[in-house]
Symmetry: C2
Subunit: 407 residues, 2 copies
């Protein structure tokens, strides 16, 4: 059985990590470094935005070439996107400096940047910062919690998790960190997630797994609907737990899958809970649709509807907006067979039965929606398709944060 | 030459119209009626939402059957959507009552409803209201301006326009009314637009024209991105101007096209200017894309991005968010050849040149963006595709209006 433990991305065997303030931002930590004693295979998902930051193109090239990798360096404060040739050179310099400090090649170093689009990186302070941070990490003066802090932008809390899972006689550890705090359309233009494990797993199997899990976790959250130029989710596996290598979908594979799924879903939810201006956490479930794909489309459409989000902010059981969002989602369904429930704080309220409104007590509904975590449950009666996703409401603070961000 | 005139939907020859308060809403006008002395051919566009109000299904059936029509009856306050069999029966009763009062068949009566989803219509007051309104209109006690008022929901002003255009020796009149005030995703769940003309035009040619113009006008505006259950745009043409019947794309056709395009674009812009909580009117132009379709995708993606909308509210020249929205639009373009300008109040500011930021004076940018009408101009260098669309910013008031709507 999988077990949640205290720990961070440096907890799986053979990883070291840290983060510190080097002067890109005014006061908060702005550089993180993660390295693996042995080369790690890795899986990844990258933004689908046509406008890609230099770091995304760098990592994709390493991905296509095959890996393995030794390290990951991340700066926050500036996204190094829309920075042209100079941005690519600066990105390469980050990889080279990290490689020199750790004793590996630049092609073994993944890079990530997050922050404002269109500003060049302050390379003097980054170069010195990487050298200093590498030395601190080598002396184990810092931990994965510092690394989780160094990747934050408008996040109000670190997003960190660790679990362990027995594979036969061997215990394997999986840990992760992420940052938001807008996501699919974030304020500072990035959702980043980095997961480490000491499991020994075949790289192509790991890569398929990362994509499958990413589809059900990172790709099922939304804060404000803008897919950023820098988004990425990376899982590194260095094999140092010593489990017998996983090369097929056996019981060890599914035990590890569960741990990776748990860590990814945990981090994805943490990102939306800390979404810009979010006052409520929303879980949307659709079940009984013709296909899983239809269910996913409906979940995403509900989660990204400004009208649904403002209704939840206003604690208003305005189910018409939910049904409307399903209707323009592109998914196929029969409105006349749709049922809909709001759930929160142990209470439940059915508002649509077979496509028709169920009269309900407004006071009861209002009391239910005053909870800070709300489930919107859609029950169709047409098939076995289902999906779940997570989002947040749209509040005055969202407008405040994003209307005043650069100023 | 087309000429803007004073007038409303009853100005073209042979139309009568009016609107009054009948008790669906507390105080404001909530029923409108428009009728044509002679049968009118019509073209229309309806919502693509799978969840369709009873009136949309009714009108689509008449459209498919071919028309012509004699009248249009519209209630505001309740949308008659998600109301099942009872809703369909109520809609039919509205058409029957109108037909009896005007002396035509129910199949010659178009119906529209707008307002809250999921409430049944108060049929007693609607039946009596239609009879009273038909009598008032017959005595010409009311005008098209009253009709434009009767279709309003959260709109803060009526949306009304009239033009005339000479076709040979004959002067043809085109007039229209519309309501918002969310649009593609409106608060009270509807964008409605109704245009009348006395031009004589072949119905199938009119229908193609309505779709072409609708694509470039109503389908290029966005307030909050939710396609409603009740949206429709209808153009009626009763031929009473006596022009020689238009059956092909000759010079008369293009003169009428210009008038229809002007009226539709005017009404579409009025809808977004009066968008819920809007403090700024945005025009987004994309030119030089590979195809028109690519340009339209980018325009819509920029207009619906919450991050772009909040930046405009905050008067912040945050061009990274514009480029980011283009990048996830699904359109094909080369970021490295993209140029971007903000324009307002006679001022212009180029912020991206060939994909790279142009340093600019923040004070100048801030002064420019303090204008209430802002143009975002995207210049690509890849082809002859272009598109223009209109939207508004995302303000505290949008959250307030939609967070407190039903309460």
């Amino acid at each position: 059985m999988m077990r949640i433990i205290e720990g961070a991305v440096n907890t799986p065997k053979g990883y070291k990590a840290g983060g510190k303030h080097i002067g890109i931002k005014r006061k908060r930590k702005d550089l993180s470094l993660l390295c693996s004693e042995r080369p790690a295979v890795f899986g990844a998902m990258f933004t689908t935005n046509i406008v890609k930051a230099a770091c995304v193109n760098w990592n994709k090239a390493i991905y296509d070439q095959g890996g393995p990798v030794r390290a990951l360096v991340v700066n926050s404060g500036r996204a190094n996107a829309c920075t042209g040739v100079q941005g690519m050179q600066d990105n390469q310099a980050m990889a080279e400096t990290t490689a020199a400090a750790l004793g590996c090649t630049p092609e073994e170093v993944l890079v990530a940047s997050t922050g404002l689009i269109g500003s060049l990186l302050p390379m003097d302070c980054i170069t010195a910062g990487i050298q200093g941070l590498a030395a601190d990490i080598d002396r184990e003066m810092l931990s994965g919690l510092d690394a989780a802090e160094g990747i934050m932008t408008t996040d109000t809390a670190i997003k960190n998790v660790a679990v362990e899972v027995p594979l036969g006689d061997t215990v394997v550890t999986v840990a992760g960190m992420a940052k938001g705090s807008g996501m699919i359309h974030p304020n500072m233009a990035t959702m980043l997630s980095f997961v480490t494990t000491d499991a020994d797993i075949d790289q192509s199997l790991l890569r398929r797994t990362v994509k499958a899990i990413g589809r059900d976790t990172y790709n099922m959250i939304s804060v404000d609907g803008d897919t950023s130029t820098n988004d990425m989710a990376i899982v590194m596996a260095n094999g140092m737990a010593g489990n017998s290598r996983i090369t097929e979908e056996n019981s060890d594979y599914w035990a590890l899958y569960e741990a990776l799924q748990y860590v990814s879903e945990f981090l994805a939810k943490e990102v939306v809970k800390d979404g810009e201006g979010a006052s409520k956490f929303l879980e949307v479930c659709v079940q009984g649709s013709v296909s899983h794909d239809d269910a996913r489309k409906m979940v995403k459409s509900i989660l990204t509807s400004n009208l649904v989000k403002t209704a939840m902010f206003g604690e208003d059981a305005n189910w018409g907006r939910v049904l409307c969002a399903m209707g323009y989602s592109g998914a196929d369904f029969n409105p006349d067979r749709t049922c809909l429930e709001f759930k929160a704080g142990g209470k439940s309220l059915r508002v649509i039965e077979d496509g028709l409104p169920v009269p309900f007590d407004e006071e009861y509904a209002y009391a239910l929606l005053q909870n800070s975590e709300i489930v919107i449950d859609v029950i169709l009666q047409e098939g076995t398709g289902k999906a779940v996703g997570w989002g947040c409401d749209l509040s005055y603070d969202y407008v405040k944060i994003n209307g005043e961000y650069r100023s």
